[in-house]
């Protein structure tokens, strides 16, 4: 390693603030690039699941009403 201690690695001879700031922004951008589309897909699938459940409930209700009507 090029630095003797953690403090020296953070300070980087006075350039630490520049280098670590860029590193943090990079990691934030990487996290955004990987997480945002995954979260968007997950949210979409959850919404579609809700729609599908509602459709299934409506179909089941209709089926029950039809069978009640035919038995009476």
């Amino acid at each position: 390693m090029q630095f003797d201690s953690l403090a020296a690695a953070l300070a980087m001879d006075g350039h630490g603030a520049y280098v670590w700031f860029v590193a943090l922004v990079t990691f934030a951008v990487i996290a955004g690039l990987l997480l945002l589309p995954s979260l968007s897909s997950r949210r979409f699938l959850r919404e579609q699941d809700g729609i599908l459940r509602r459709e299934q409930r409506a179909a089941q209700q209709q089926h029950t009403e039809v069978s009640h009507a035919s038995s009476s």
Binding site: M1, Q2, F3, A9, M12, D13, G14, H15, G16, Y18, V19, F21, V22, A23, V25, T26, V29, I30, G32, L33, L34, P37, S38, S40, S41, F44, L45, Q48, D49, L52
Partner: protein
């Protein structure tokens, strides 16, 4: 060969294949990024002139290189969607734009921060930096243009034209440091000549460039998957995905 192109146009096939590619590419990308960052930040030697501020190169160069490559991918996808009306190319083109914008932003911000200790200023209206700023606006333009149209076929056509017109800017960016007097240093890595960097500094840089290419591929596939799901709303294959997710979630809840 032709059957591959037919498959490539199929959303369910693309969704399935991209999922299996991501299952190994995503962990590999994270590993490369972690190794490259630690190597560059802590183990690479400091530059004799710039000191430790030179370590910004390990984020600035990969982000900028891949931002330029992403533009080519977007323009090629745009050309394919214009010529062959291939839906998957439209999806790829639309998915490229926000990734390219994010990487260009990263290249610009890291360059500005690097400029302060090196040049004594955050920003100069230099040919390289200005042409990179234009690239950023081109990416944002494609994103905005797609959102502006209600008719998505017309939106894709307009975005493809803008992408193709914008390719003029890419060789300008590459050659700007040679064509105009510039504060920006010339290319560090050259294909035709030996690199001006010492191998101890060059190796982590090449690793980070590879990591950013992998990051771009992962992000592109994730964006495309999200877009494919949205475009396929109500179709059988999306319904299958919903049911598969429900099954997985149910199994997790039961545990």
């Amino acid at each position: 060969m032709w059957s591959f192109f037919h498959k490539l146009g199929s959303p369910p096939w693309m969704y399935r294949i991209s999922g299996s590619i991501l299952s190994w590419l995503l962990p590999l990308t994270l590993l490369l990024l972690a190794v490259g960052s630690i190597w560059g930040l802590l183990y690479a030697p400091a530059d004799f002139r710039q000191g430790n501020s030179f370590r910004i190169i390990y984020f600035h160069v990969p982000a900028s290189v891949v931002a330029l490559a992403a533009y080519y991918v977007m323009a090629i996808a745009g050309a394919v969607s214009l010529i062959w009306k291939m839906k998957m190319a439209e999806v790829a083109m639309k998915s490229c734009a926000p990734i390219g914008a994010a990487l260009t932003f990263l290249g610009l911000i890291s360059g500005a921060v690097w400029g302060k200790p090196t040049w004594g200023t955050w920003w100069v209206w230099d040919a390289r930096i200005t042409s990179m700023l234009i690239l950023f606006f081109l990416y944002l333009g494609v994103v905005a243009l797609y959102q502006a149209y209600e008719n998505k076929a017309a939106a894709a056509k307009a975005c493809a034209v803008l992408s193709l017109v914008g390719t003029v800017n890419i060789p300008i960016i590459y050659k700007s440091v040679d064509w105009w007097y510039s504060l920006h240093q010339p290319a560090t890595i050259k294909f035709t000549e030996e690199s001006t960097m010492h191998s101890d500094m060059l190796q982590p840089l090449l690793l980070m460039i590879l990591a950013f290419y992998c990051l771009f591929t992962c992000s592109l596939l994730l964006n495309m998957r999200s877009e494919l799901l949205r475009q396929g709303a109500g179709t059988n294959w999306v319904r299958e995905q919903v049911l598969a997710r429900r099954g997985t979630k149910g199994a997790t809840d039961a545990v």
